[in-house]
């Protein structure tokens, strides 16, 4: 697969990707603010800085395709078309939440949009995506499944089993590793040997490293892998190198005894902001004039405002709902 041979996206697709990234960024920023007010019942893991990965991949998917996500799952949820307001209602534990308030941040899911769920178990989504890819293959409609996981998740044994099985069965599966430099509080290099993408090689599966802060690069590589998978040629592993700007979990300063990374490192990566890069490209490619940019910003701001306003007046779930849904 040669990423360079792929063309640039249509202007409409490019604009859509920019808007999605901006939506994720602003939604997550607001969540970070809300955390400091103490109104959130549970923990949240923000994906600021990593937006290009979910958006670049999901731009090739529609509701019939599947994704499995992680504890850092808001970006995947929104990139795949999940409803921002229902996500926020869920995180606030309201009955209008996408899971009726019973899942929370780490479990946002919308099966009607092919979102198999965020996951509280690191690596938990990988096997689930393999199963969805199997179903997609059996259906024969050209659907694909994507497992998003972190560099930390790459160290779960299930990854080897998944690559092997998907290769043997030629499953339409993308294993997308968001290498954001940290496995919780451990720098990746201290817990992860070698190159994650290369873990595909012995199985005869393509393993591609891509700049995870460049949404166009992600879009090209993912496009190629999705086409391949849809055509029946089997799985691919994509390692997108990116960086987590925020804490592992928003409340981490309250329980850690000290820092585990240099502020300077964060600043260096912030200078490589995936949104700013895309904005520059859009303008230089003539895909967007400043007024179009303003329109997108205003649309996103309005979506974010209503997502953080309306759910707050929604009720908490009725008591009996605690005892519903264990069995069909």
């Amino acid at each position: 697969m040669n990423a360079m041979s792929s063309p640039d996206p249509d202007p409409a697709v490019a604009l859509e990707m920019f808007q999605r990234m901006l939506l994720i960024r602003r939604m997550e920023e607001r969540l970070g603010e809300v955390v400091t007010t103490g109104e959130l019942p549970g923990p949240v893991h923000l994906c600021i800085g990593q937006e290009a990965v979910s958006v670049g991949v999901c731009a090739h998917l529609d509701d019939a395709d599947w994704i499995a996500s992680t504890h850092r799952g808001h970006g995947h949820f929104l990139a795949k078309g999940g409803d921002p307001e229902k996500m926020i209602a869920e995180i606030f534990g309201r009955e209008t939440g996408i899971c009726g308030g019973k899942g929370g941040s780490m479990h946002v899911a919308d099966f009607s949009r092919g979102i198999l769920g965020a996951n509280g178990i690191v690596g938990g989504g990988i096997g689930i995506a393999v199963g969805a890819a199997l179903a997609a293959q059996l259906d024969g409609q050209g659907r694909v499944a994507v497992a998003f996981f972190g560099d930390g998740g790459a160290n779960q044994g299930v990854i080897m089993e998944a690559i092997n099985l998907a290769a043997i069965w030629k499953l339409p599966l993308l294993l997308v590793c968001e290498n954001n430099g940290f496995s919780e509080f451990s720098p990746t290099s201290t817990v992860t040997a070698g190159e994650i993408a290369k873990r595909a090689e012995p199985f005869g599966v393509p393993g591609i490293v891509v700049d995870g802060n460049d949404v166009l690069a992600v879009w090209r590589v993912a496009g190629e892998a999705v086409r391949r998978a849809r055509s029946g040629a089997g799985p691919a592993v994509i390692e997108a190198r990116t960086y987590r700007w925020r804490g592992h979990v928003e409340t981490e300063k309250s329980f850690l005894s000290g820092p585990y990374r240099e502020d300077d490192e964060i600043r260096q990566w912030q200078a490589r902001d995936p949104l700013a890069a895309m904005e520059r490209w859009l303008v230089s490619a003539g895909a967007m004039d400043p007024s179009a940019l303003d329109r997108i910003r205003a649309t996103v701001a309005a979506t974010v405002d209503s997502a953080y306003t309306r759910p707050l007046s929604d009720a908490y779930p009725a008591g009996e709902s605690a005892f519903q849904h264990m069995f069909a």
Partner: protein
């Protein structure tokens, strides 16, 4: 005697045992920076050979604990949240629990798998379980659940010195609470329950975070003239059934308060044992106060509804006093 939080008591136990025995090693995810604070400072003090950060690889972590123990080390394997024991369950259930038995007693496996458990923090269903019922049924694993800082310290030290696999589960909601911890090398032997409050009217067995809840309920009931005897088993397997049975023989009434789901809970096991061995002493049906058979919900009001609270313990005690062979209701109002 010193006042400290459970998490500090656990840190002291680990520090003391690592200092005492150079064959004690510890590993787990981010144990150096330490999310809960229980392993903080250990790497600095004992070096990066004996205290190691692992990748997120629970399957190999639990298995490696078995191998290192079989090869002569005392292993503390920190699993972070107790739900991740499930991720590493294979080596716990199929290897650690059975290897000594299957090999005719050839090896000792001094392993402590430690983890933080329990609900009440809107951490969601995958971070809130109390997985001890499944562990109790394995047979080859000792299961330890402290409810106070002193017990945590003494039980953990005993667990590390034990020559068998132990799962040590600290209740998440107790980590920050202060309690008196005696000075010196305190050891709380495994398999010995503690009577946290003496009383002659009703026996209430409470586990982990439920002990504090039950003691508060007992205070409230004492004002009504009901004297509750509160027993904390501290070790769930092997269980100190003698202490529980002796109490029930005295009171004739039993309530068990357990944060596990009802079906096959520790409460079920305790109830079955008492029904089998002290049926003739029972004045009223045994009552279990447990979590109904649902996954832990996220939304705060739902979570609160599901976890046993002071009122549910009070209600159960009143109920057992008002039913049964002797006129319990009158007894309460006397």
């Amino acid at each position: 005697m010193k006042k400290m939080r459970m998490i500090q008591a656990i840190n002291e136990a680990l520090t003391e045992e690592m200092a005492r025995d150079s064959r004690v090693i510890l590993f787990g995810e981010d144990v150096k920076i330490s999310l809960f604070g229980d392993t903080r400072g250990l790497a600095d003090r004992f070096g990066e050979n004996r205290v190691r950060n692992t990748p997120i690889s629970e399957t190999v972590m639990t298995g490696a604990a078995v191998g290192a123990a079989a090869a002569g080390y005392r292993v503390v394997c920190h699993m972070m949240f107790a739900n991740f024991l499930y991720t590493g369950f294979d080596a716990i259930a199929n290897q650690a629990a059975k290897l000594r038995y299957m090999t005719g007693g050839q090896i000792r496996l001094p392993i402590v798998y430690m983890a933080v458990m329990g609900a009440g923090r809107s951490a969601g269903a995958q971070h809130s379980d109390v997985p001890y019922p499944a562990l109790m049924n394995l047979g080859g694993i000792k299961v330890v659940v402290p409810s106070t800082p002193a017990d945590a310290k003494g039980l953990l030290k005993a667990s590390i010195r034990d020559d068998n696999p132990v799962v040590f589960l600290q209740p998440a909601r107790r980590g920050g609470e202060q309690g008196d911890v005696p000075d010196g090398d305190i050891i709380v032997p495994l398999g010995v329950a503690d009577i946290k409050r003496a009383g002659g009217d009703v026996t209430v067995v409470a586990i982990g975070a439920m002990v504090r809840t039950t003691l508060r309920a007992a205070d409230q009931l004492a004002k009504e003239g009901v004297e509750v005897e509160v027993i904390d088993p501290r070790t769930l397997f092997p269980m100190d059934t003698a202490t529980i049975l002796a109490s029930v023989r005295k009171t004739g009434r039993l309530v068990v308060v357990d944060e596990a789901r009802t079906t096959c809970s520790a409460a079920s096991e305790i109830a079955a044992t008492v029904a089998e061995q002290a049926f003739d002493c029972l004045e009223a049906p045994i009552l279990r106060v447990t979590v109904r058979d649902v996954a832990m919900p996220y939304s705060p009001p739902l979570e609160k509804l599901v976890i046993p609270d002071e009122q549910s313990v009070v209600d159960a005690v009143r109920k057992t006093l008002s039913t049964g062979r002797r006129s319990g209701t009158q007894r309460v109002t006397q």
